[in-house]
């Protein structure tokens, strides 16, 4: 062989394992169809949680939206429903996420910026004006103030004459990842976990069709977690919540079916096959975990239910239309992994919150895949691939390894309190960035294939500067109309319930109905629970 002939490129997976040029009948070594895969809808659900998947129902196409005021969000919701979207997803502004009212000094710069401002139930009810809550499912990206938002949804349903047992949707209610990655914490971890448990426990009996929790690996991944770490950390966090509810006497099969996950696809260090296989692996890992460790029997407990989000982190400011191609490939990976619902980051998201055109394009990507390509015709079409099954096995082993390491370090809560997990992920993020800087990790248009860009004017969504004034006027009007004494009384009862350590959800309805603000409710609870102090992490 001529010496000048170059050998094949060396490839190492994100797990650190060497990747062969091709895989064959010997891969993976100890393969048994029944044990490792089995048919879709059958334990351990590696191939999917339903036997027919997209042949029966396509994934839910859900674009994250919500901005400024209740009216503009309501308008956008109606626009999306008319465009064929099948579920709603609501974004809240930062003050609402952190429990501040629009008229509080710290909130001023962020009112209505990244989502809708909700100060009182009056705002919330307007978002769903003319939208029948028994006809749709709604996903709420909310954590620290999740109990308040769920209570508002229940009350809004009641007002429409819809029984809470008929409400469908998902509430994120995953506070632990907020300490790691997204920063919308209020109380310290311990009482926060208690509140997560309150919401799950309440939904079990009262709002049974609602996913009371959606443990999210997405923000953790954006923060620097590897693709498999994002799944392993999410499962580790889910176990904290499971244990919280179990210790109150709930049975595993009553609560586990209410757990769902939201997991990322894509990113700066995206690998198509790794993203798919770690989700196939997660289904198998979860099924075995719930059966063997927790003794679950109900198949809904054993089924790892997840939605996916095409990540914004892998999208680039350079040559932004390239992001449509990236989002398409993320969507393809999400569908091959058996996602139940998909939200795709939009091509202009690097600049601002998405414009109507960009949101529609993300929805159209999903519709093209669903209706024009045939990829929704066969369940788990990659199943049985020598490579995919080998990688799925490796991913499953790694998930177990990471979870064992976390337990060895005293558990995820201890790691959050000390800041060690935050430090580890930020350092990983820095390593990825260095690889992009050096060109070791190629990003098209960023460190390779750069062009002198035409100055394309992307239509950028701008928040109406009048938003805050409108919101302040609304809040002042609501405050003027309410009965101050009844508000105080309801808040005092809430505080007593929090001090008594009982489930606080039933005690939220009175203050919310009396138009107590989100900020007033949170300030009341802070008196009992305290406030989180961030550990130094860098």
């Amino acid at each position: 062989m001529a010496k000048s002939e170059k050998g094949p490129r060396e490839v190492v997976s994100s797990l650190g394992t060497p990747v062969k040029c091709f895989y064959g009948p010997g891969d993976p070594g100890d393969f048994s169809y029944e044990e490792k895969l089995n048919d879709p809808g059958v334990y351990p659900y590696t191939r999917g949680i339903h036997p027919t998947m997209y042949r029966t129902a396509l994934w839910t196409m859900r674009q994250y939206s919500g901005q400024a005021t209740a009216e503009s969000t309501n308008e956008r919701f109606k626009y999306l429903l008319a465009s064929g979207q099948t579920g709603l997803s609501l974004a809240f502004d930062l003050p609402t996420q952190i429990g501040l009212d629009s008229d509080m000094p710290l909130a001023a710069d962020d009112v209505g910026k990244l989502g809708v401002a909700v100060d009182t139930w009056d705002d919330f009810a307007r978002i769903f004006d003319g939208i029948a809550l028994d006809q749709i499912s709604t996903s709420f990206t909310i954590n620290a103030t999740a109990p308040i938002i769920l209570a508002m949804y229940v009350l809004t349903g009641e007002k429409q004459g819809v029984d809470k047992k008929k409400l469908r949707g998902t509430i994120q209610n995953d506070i632990l990842k907020e300490y790691i990655a997204r920063g919308t914490w209020i109380f310290p971890p311990e009482p926060s976990i208690k509140l997560v448990g309150d919401l799950v426990e309440y939904c079990t009996t009262e709002v049974p069709r609602f996913n009371a929790i959606s443990v999210s690996g997405t923000h953790i991944r954006e923060y620097g977690a590897s693709t498999v770490q994002s799944v392993a950390l999410a499962i580790s966090i889910a176990e904290v919540y499971l244990k919280e509810v179990l210790k109150r006497g709930s049975k595993i099969d009553e609560i586990a079916p209410l757990f769902s996950f939201h997991l990322p696809i894509g990113g700066r260090d995206f690998n198509f096959f790794e993203d798919i296989t770690r989700l196939r692996a997660a289904r198998r890992y979860w099924a075995r975990l719930l059966k063997e460790k927790y003794g679950a029997c109900d198949k809904r407990s054993l089924q790892f239910t997840f939605s996916t989000g095409g990540m914004g982190g892998g999208l680039t400011a350079e040559q932004p239309l390239n992001n449509i191609a990236r989002a398409t490939i993320y969507a393809l990976a999400a569908v091959f992994s058996g996602t139940r619902s998909l939200n795709l980051a939009c091509f202009d998201e690097v600049y601002a919150i998405p414009s109507d055109l960009a949101i529609r394009t993300s929805l159209r990507i999903q519709q093209i895949l669903a209706h024009e390509t045939g990829i929704a015709d066969v369940v788990d079409p990659l199943g049985g691939s020598y490579y995919v099954e080998t990688l799925t096995d490796e991913m499953e082993a790694k998930i177990g390894e990471i979870i064992a390491e976390i337990e060895g370090a005293g558990g995820i809560v201890a790691m959050i309190e000390s800041g060690s997990i935050q430090r580890e992920l930020a350092a990983q993020s820095y390593e990825i960035q260095k690889k992009i800087n050096s060109g070791e990790r190629v990003m098209v248009g960023v460190n390779r294939f750069r062009t002198q860009e035409e100055d394309r004017d992307i239509e950028i969504y701008k928040t109406d500067p009048e938003t805050i004034n409108r919101q302040l006027t609304r809040l002042a009007q609501v405050k003027e109309k309410r009965d101050r004494a009844r508000v105080s009384q309801a808040l005092a009862e809430l505080e007593a319930a929090a001090r008594a350590g009982v489930n606080i959800i039933p005690h939220l309805f009175a203050p919310i109905s009396e138009m107590a603000t989100v900020g007033e409710i949170i300030e009341t609870l802070k008196k009992v629970y305290g406030t989180f102090k961030e550990p130094a992490t860098v």
Binding site: L106, D110, G183, A317, A426, S429, Q433, V538
Partner: protein, 139 residues
């Protein structure tokens, strides 16, 4: 060989935005470039940041903001810096900042704006250029 003064940088998160991995990555990078870097943590007010900048005698304040409130924050921060006489401190903004807003921030007295287009080297080179007068002075 002359010992060069070590550049001191305050990386700050102002407002409610909790996305701080970019701030941390920048902190690591500037430290690797030999600078001393302090990171404020989340949810700071402009007043707190200016106070820390004075206490720590920094040469540079770098504000990371991804929530869209950069305009309002820059207004308050630059006003506060003027009040406290921090005229010599280099002020940088970075994050999700639309192109159209760059001029607005510069008009308020922000010296450099770095968005998702920027590379880490661009930021460290800019700082070194402005603080020590070395290297490229690209904006």
């Amino acid at each position: 060989m002359e010992t060069r003064k070590t550049i001191r940088v305050l990386v700050a998160k102002i407002g409610l935005d909790g996305h701080d991995v970019g701030a941390k990555v920048l902190t690591f990078w500037l430290r690797d470039q030999g600078m001393e870097v302090i990171y404020t943590g989340l949810r700071q007010t402009p007043e707190q940041v200016v106070q820390t900048a004075i206490q720590e005698a920094v040469d540079v304040i770098g504000v990371s903001i991804l929530s869209g409130s950069h305009g309002a924050v820059a207004e308050k921060l630059t006003a506060r810096m003027k009040e406290c006489g921090l005229d010599d401190v280099l002020l940088l903004f970075g994050g999700t900042i639309p192109k159209d807003d760059v001029a607005l921030l510069k008009g308020l007295g922000v010296h450099g704006v770095f968005t998702s287009h920027s590379r880490l080297e661009d930021i460290s080179t800019f700082i070194r250029g402005k603080v020590t007068g070395e290297g490229a002075k690209n904006d």
